[in-house]
C-alpha cells in the first residue's frame, strides 16, 4: 500500500479542492466506458458517455433498470467490482484528470472528500452497533484526521441541515425510522463538504410523504452548500424534483442530455418521448402508453442505434450507430437531429 506523506496529500488536495479559483465545470466526463467480464461474454454496461456538470447544478440520470445508470455512477466514483473488462475514458473533477491518479491517491483525496455517494437502499447500510453520530462523523475522523470534538460539532451542523434533531447523534440505527436513517446517510455524504454528491435512488424505498420531505431537504441543501448533485432514479416524476438538467440513458449509452424545462415538456429522442409518455400522471388527465419490446442485451448490442427496433420513427439511417448531435443547447444521439 502506498502511503502519501501529509505534505503530498495536502498538495494534491489543494489542487483538486473545489475552491473558487477553479472556473469551469465541476465534473467533466469524456467518452467513459465500463465493460464487465461475465461467464457468457463481455457486458457493455456503460459505453462512450460524455457530459459536463456546472457548479451548483443538479443532473438527473433517468432510464430503465439495467440501462447502466448505477454503473455510470460507480465508474465516476471508481467503485469498481473485480470483474472489470474495460474501464476507459476521462473524468475531470474541478479540472483535475482523475484517471491519472493512483487508486490509493483517489481513495485519499477524492472519494468522500470531493465526491460522495448516497447509495441505493442506503438506509439499511448503517452499522447497527455504532451510534449514528459516530458513523456520520467517521469520514472526518479517519480521512481528515480531525479532532473528535470538532468532528462531532460538524456532524451536528449537517444533522441540522438534513433536518434531524441533534439529539439523534447518540442513537443507534434501529432507533431511527426509515426516513431518518436516509437523512443520516445524506448527512454522512455531506459532512466532508464535497463538490459533488451522487444520489443513487435516494428515496425509492420510502413512503410518499417521507420522500417529499427528503426532497425538500435536498433542495434546501443544494442552495445552502452550493453543491452539485447527480441524482439517479427510474422514477421520472420524482426526478423532476431535483433536476436542472436531465441525462437519459438507454442500453448503456447516453441518448439525450437536455435542460429540465425541455426534457419534461418535449424531449427530443424518441426513447425519451416514449419514456415520458409512459409516466402516469395524477394531476392531469393523460393516458399513459407503454413501450413495446425490450431493451437489447448488453452482451451483444445491435450495431446501429440501440433503440431502433422499438422506435416509432425508425428509418434506413438507423442501421448505423448515430453520433451525439447538438440540437440547440441539447445533446441527442439520434439521426433525426443530424441537421442540427
Amino acid at each position: 500500500m502506498i502511503k502519501g506523506t501529509d505534505r503530498q496529500r495536502g498538495r494534491a488536495g489543494a489542487a483538486i479542492r473545489g475552491t473558487s479559483r477553479h472556473v469551469g465545470p465541476v465534473l467533466k466526463v469524456e467518452d467513459l466506458s465500463l465493460y464487465f467480464r461475465a461467464s457468457v461474454g463481455v457486458v457493455r454496461a456503460v459505453e462512450g458517455v460524455s457530459f459536463e456538470l456546472q457548479r451548483g447544478r443538479s443532473l438527473t440520470i433517468v432510464g430503465e433498470s439495467g440501462c447502466g445508470k448505477t454503473s455510470l455512477a460507480k465508474a465516476i466514483l471508481r467503485l469498481l467490482p473485480r470483474n472489470i473488462h474495460t474501464y476507459k475514458g476521462r473524468v475531470f473533477l474541478n479540472g483535475t484528470d482523475l484517471m491519472t491518479l493512483s487508486d490509493e491517491r483517489f481513495r485519499q483525496d477524492i472519494r468522500w472528500k470531493e465526491m460522495s455517494l448516497v447509495s441505493q437502499a442506503a438506509m439499511n447500510s448503517l452499522n447497527p452497533v455504532l451510534k449514528v453520530g459516530y458513523q456520520v462523523a467517521e469520514p472526518l475522523l479517519i480521512n481528515h484526521n480531525m479532532e473528535k470534538k470538532a468532528a462531532f460539532e460538524r456532524a451536528r451542523e449537517v444533522f441540522k441541515a438534513v433536518g434531524i434533531p441533534a439529539a439523534f447523534l447518540d442513537r443507534y440505527a434501529f432507533e431511527l425510522s426509515g426516513g431518518m436513517r436516509q437523512r443520516a446517510i445524506i448527512a454522512m455524504a455531506l459532512i466532508t463538504n464535497p463538490s459533488l454528491v451522487i444520489l443513487d435512488e435516494p428515496t425509492s424505498a420510502l413512503d410518499v410523504l417521507t420522500q417529499a420531505n427528503i426532497m425538500n431537504a435536498l433542495k434546501k441543501i443544494k442552495r445552502e452548500f452550493d453543491l452539485s448533485f447527480i441524482l439517479i432514479t427510474h422514477d421520472i416524476a420524482t426526478s423532476s424534483e431535483l433536476a436542472d438538467e436531465v441525462l437519459c440513458m438507454y442500453a448503456g449509452q447516453l441518448v439525450e442530455h437536455s435542460k429540465a424545462e425541455r426534457f419534461y415538456r418535449e424531449p427530443l429522442h424518441p426513447y425519451a418521448q416514449k419514456l415520458m409518455a409512459s409516466v402516469p400522471t395524477l394531476h392531469t388527465e393523460k393516458k399513459p402508453e407503454f413501450i413495446a419490446g425490450q431493451p437489447p442485451s448488453l452482451l451483444n448490442p445491435p450495431s446501429g442505434c440501440r433503440f431502433a427496433l422499438r422506435c416509432h420513427r425508425r428509418f434506413e439511417r438507423c442501421e448505423e450507430d448515430p453520433p451525439l448531435f447538438q440540437h440547440g443547447d441539447e445533446t441527442v444521439k439520434c439521426w433525426l437531429y443530424e441537421k442540427g
Binding site: D207, I236, A237, R265, H283
Partner: protein
C-alpha cells in the same frame, strides 16, 4: 363504533347482496407483544376496525404507507392470519376459525399476485412446472392440465406459449416474470385476485402495460381485484374505488375520480399534494408536507390518528374522540371530524391543506431569495 354510516352505500352499484363477494365488518387484527418471551407487553394494532364490502367484478385499490396495515389486511383475506375481532365473509362463508379444508377452498378462490415476481417464482422450476404445481395440489383432472396452462399463458400474453414452457424464471424479463405470476394466480379460475404492489418492482415503461392487462382480465372474467399500492398515480388507470389507509384504519373511501379531484381527509390531501407530476417547475418549489411520521401502532394517539400531524385539528375534539365514518357526498366516506354534519357547515374544500401550503410558499420564497 357507534353511529357508523350504513355500510350498504359502498355496494351501491348493485344493492342486492348476492353480488357481494367479500365483506368485512369492524375487523381488528392485533398482534401480541411479549417481553422476554412470556410477559405481556401490549399489542400491535395492525388492523383496527376496518369495514367494507366488495362486489363480484369490482376492482378496489387500497392506498397507504408502509406499516399502515395494508399487508395484514391482505393476509387476512388470504386466510394467512387470524382475526382478533370482527367478521370477514367470503362468498357467504364466514372465514373466521376455518378448518384446513375450508382454507384450501378459500385459496383456490383467491389468487395472489406477489410484489417481487422473481422472489415469488421458484428459481429451479421451469414455467411448465411452476404452473402445473397448483393444478396438482388442487386435484384438477389431469386431462385439463395442459389446456389450463395454455389458456393462462395466452391470457397474460406470454406467446407463443411453447417458447415459454421450458424457460426458467431467470431467463424472463421482469415484466414477463410478473406476467407469469399473474398467470399462476389465474390458473385455478379464482373469483378474487389480490395483488400486493404488482408493479412496484417494474420499470415505468412496463408498468402501464401490466396494469392494463390486469384490468382487461378483470373485466373479461368478471373478477374482483384488490390492488394494494402506495403509488396513487397509477390508481386511476386501474380501479373504480379507492380506500386510503392510515395507521391501521381506512380513513377515506371514495371513487377514483372523487379521490383525485376532491380529497376530503387531510391525510389524503397531503398525500396527493406530495406526489409530483413530471415538471421542471418542481425543482424550484418546496412541497407542502405535514410534519412528523405515522404513529406507532402499539400506542396510537387518542382520537383521530392523524391529529398530531393535521393542519385542521380541532382542539378538544380530534385529540379526544375517534371520528366515526361520515358521508359528505354519495359514496364518499371519510373518518374525520371536519365533516361532522352536526358541527355545522363543512369547511371550505381546499385541494391542499392551507397552513402547510402557506408554509411551503414561504419557504419557496426564501429559497428563491437566496438564489438571487
Amino acid at each position: 363504533m357507534e353511529n357508523r354510516a350504513p355500510l350498504s352505500v359502498i355496494s351501491r352499484v348493485d344493492e342486492t347482496d348476492s353480488r357481494t363477494l367479500l365483506s368485512m365488518q369492524d375487523v381488528r387484527v392485533w398482534f401480541e407483544l411479549k417481553k422476554w418471551g412470556f410477559l405481556k407487553a401490549g399489542f400491535v394494532r395492525a388492523v383496527d376496525g376496518v369495514s367494507f364490502k366488495l362486489d363480484q367484478g369490482q376492482a378496489l385499490t387500497i392506498v397507504g404507507e408502509s406499516g399502515s396495515g395494508k399487508t395484514t389486511l391482505l393476509r387476512m383475506i388470504l386466510g394467512l392470519c387470524q382475526l382478533t375481532e370482527g367478521q370477514i365473509e367470503f362468498a357467504g362463508r364466514n372465514l373466521d376459525g376455518q378448518k384446513s379444508k375450508d382454507l384450501a377452498w378459500l385459496r383456490s378462490q383467491v389468487g395472489f399476485v406477489q410484489q417481487d415476481p422473481y422472489g415469488a417464482l421458484a428459481s429451479f422450476m421451469d414455467v411448465h412446472r411452476i404452473l402445473i404445481e397448483p393444478l396438482i395440489i388442487n386435484r384438477v383432472r389431469r386431462e385439463e392440465h395442459e389446456q389450463r396452462i395454455r389458456e393462462a399463458l395466452e391470457e397474460v400474453r406470454l406467446i407463443p406459449v411453447d417458447d415459454f414452457l421450458t424457460k426458467y424464471p431467470h431467463m424472463l424479463s421482469g415484466g414477463q416474470q410478473q406476467r407469469l405470476v399473474i398467470a399462476r394466480a389465474l390458473l385455478l379460475r379464482p373469483r378474487l385476485i389480490v395483488a400486493d404492489e404488482p408493479v412496484s418492482m417494474l420499470d415505468a415503461s412496463v408498468r402501464v402495460e401490466i396494469l392494463e392487462m390486469m384490468r382487461g382480465i378483470q373485466k373479461n372474467h368478471d373478477l374482483s381485484v384488490i390492488y394494494i399500492t402506495h403509488d396513487l398515480s397509477s390508481v386511476r388507470y386501474f380501479s373504480e374505488r379507492v380506500f386510503v389507509m392510515y395507521a391501521a384504519k381506512l380513513v377515506e373511501k371514495a371513487d377514483v375520480r372523487e379521490i383525485v379531484q376532491n380529497p376530503l381527509h387531510p391525510y389524503t390531501q397531503a398525500l396527493l399534494a406530495a406526489i409530483p407530476d413530471p415538471d421542471a417547475k418542481n425543482a424550484a418549489e418546496l412541497k407542502a408536507v405535514p410534519p412528523g411520521e405515522p404513529p406507532s401502532l402499539i400506542n396510537p394517539p387518542n382520537g383521530c390518528r392523524f391529529h398530531p400531524r393535521c393542519p385542521h385539528k380541532i382542539e378538544g375534539r380530534c385529540d379526544v374522540d375517534e371520528p366515526p365514518e361520515f358521508e359528505p357526498g354519495p359514496g364518499h366516506l371519510v373518518e374525520c371530524w371536519l365533516y361532522d354534519p352536526e358541527a355545522g357547515a363543512p369547511p371550505a374544500q381546499t385541494t391542499m391543506t392551507d397552513r402547510a401550503q402557506a408554509q411551503a410558499e414561504r419557504q419557496t420564497a426564501e429559497l428563491q431569495d437566496r438564489d438571487n
